[in-house]
Subunit: 347 residues, 2 copies
């Protein structure tokens, strides 16, 4: 007998809405092909309000309300005004989808939400990076202790399933290192510079397209990529490192002359996040602009696309290339986690 | 309580020996990390002889015998002289590792072995392409009917786990097409031609390195890649096509002038195997040399490396790059299948 999961959304911005669209459109397929059954019982968002019905909400209607900029209070039935923690603790939800707007440095409020959910014996899937960077091993232990699932596939390359790949698809290999293009914004800027655009113009273009924030520091100084190096080092390589253990240099110092010279040498600049287990067992981790020969698979990855190469003992380097951002792509990462959870919990 | 699989090797050439090395070296890790437990009870090879011991063979000793070019009859105990079919049917093995030397066109003798094993209620893992190209859907149905597992990860890109990726890691996506560099020999030849070598010299070099056979037709005329297009179309896209449904052109007609001209245009020749579901539901499948812009992730895949891009509805194109051949890499593909089997059968 398969389970029917009772889901609650904590936070309901673009990522949560993206997942909701996918869940609605693919409901029949998910049931037939993956034996995955669900009902959404609660949505709680600090701006949009909250609604809870233990028998399930009509998520088409919820989406319509939100897209019309209305509050969830206008939903015709159910309990209103439950805040995030009440929704996590005091509803019949068994699985919390944590997609709040969260400070990546402190990890809050996601960290508090995730701990509360795991302590309450509820599964968690979340796209928030902060909690994973700060204390992934503690959270995984807490999940194990409570016999529940904690999934966070989306924190590295959005819906491009790199954590899943390392765990399942490369099973049986020993993974000893990785290197990758882990930030789409900087890769977009470097691609435009290859075509002759200046750094400043390329950055402006990235901001126009919504790839870069008004303050682009997190991307161009390599902080976003650094967080992903920390996550991959801890989750995939089994280390226990923090922000300060990664050497970092961004792309702001790269000039159009640097790019032209690399081109003349048959090379291409990329911002590479990497980590490698050394012979003495220590880890060398960094985020640094590198000139790659065009024969490197990562050199051919352009625009806002991301890529990650795992060094494996049996297969040598194995690379995956895919999107690293996007509303629906990030929403989809949560579905990867939900299907993974369904598989594990029905074992 | 986890199972302890009883394995029998049918065929014991380089691929079977490669897997054996991995199984021996990783025995403890496989038990601890993946709860995978095994014993090898039989090895039967048409040239090397056969040996069966229901309590298990010392595979280190078997490897030593074979590497010293001795017959399996010299193994100090066990039953000798059981042929392939007797080993499949009349031993206590529950899982058959089918790695015989097989004609890719007829699929024999692997096809007969696989059917016999599935009909006897035994799991099968095999790197033989022929049976998969010829009748994969029938074999999968037969496995399902007998409640056993049939795995063949190695038939497309050796140990680069493309079938596993499509089934697990991209779960939840609809895959509508693929394109890839599916043959390492031709990619090696094209890479040398990029450097100015003639087709004939590059082919000779590939033969020296053991990438190409004395008769290179299967590789350079695109027949090997075609078989993989058939397999991916049927297994991943859910179609039911055969050899004749794929348009084909090899690389023998590509001259150094063609390569130079492409280079001047910022392009690169690759032999691409592809299939795409059309709007009317039909399939357009082909193997054809294509000039790719250097911005295409497949253009950056050089030497004997393979790559495959899946077109997905949620993530757009997702590409995996890895080895497509090799003794140990192909042996490793069987371990991927065995771990997959272990996961499925313990669910």
């Amino acid at each position: 007998m398969s389970m029917r999961f009772k889901l609650a959304f904590i936070g309901f911005g673009v990522v949560g809405q993206g997942l909701t669209e996918i869940l609605l459109e693919k409901k029949d397929m998910l049931a037939e092909k993956y034996d995955f059954h669900y009902v959404v019982v609660a949505v709680s968002d600090i701006m949009k309000g909250s609604v809870y019905d233990e028998n399930g909400l009509n998520m088409g209607e919820i989406l319509s309300l939100v897209k019309a900029d209305k509050k969830l209070d206008e939903y015709p039935s159910g309990m209103k005004d439950m805040d995030s923690l009440a929704t996590i603790k005091d509803t019949n939800a068994d699985t919390i989808i944590e997609v709040t707007f969260t400070d990546v440095k402190t990890g809050e409020p996601a960290l508090t939400h995730i701990k509360a959910a795991l302590n309450a014996g509820k599964n968690v899937v979340s796209t928030n990076k902060g909690p994973v960077v700060k204390q992934v091993m503690d959270l995984l232990k807490l999940a194990e202790k409570n016999n529940v699932f904690y999934g966070f596939e989306g924190v590295v390359l959005a819906g491009t399933p790199v954590l899943n790949l390392a765990e399942y698809t490369l099973a049986g290999n020993k993974i000893t290192g990785f290197k990758g293009i882990l930030n789409g914004t900087t890769n977009y800027i470097l691609t435009r510079m290859e075509e002759g655009m200046s750094y400043d113009d390329a950055l402006k273009k990235a901001q126009e397209l919504g790839y870069a924030e008004a303050d682009p520091t997190g991307d161009v100084e390599g902080l976003d990529a650094l967080g992903k190096v920390v996550i991959l080092s801890n989750v995939v390589l089994g280390k226990n490192i923090g922000w300060k253990d990664v050497e970092r240099k961004g792309i702001a110092g790269i000039t159009i002359e640097d790019v032209e010279q690399a081109k003349a040498e048959g090379m291409r600049w990329k911002l590479i996040g990497s980590a490698e287990i050394q012979k003495d067992g220590s880890l060398k981790a960094k985020v640094w602009p590198q000139k790659l020969p065009l024969s490197d698979p990562l050199a051919g990855v352009n625009e806002a696309i991301n890529a990650l190469t795992f060094d494996t003992d049996e297969l040598g380097p194995v690379t995956v290339v895919g999107p690293g951002a996007g509303r629906r792509e990030t929403g989809f990462s949560l579905l990867i986690d939900l299907l993974n959870m369904n598989r594990k919990l029905s074992e």
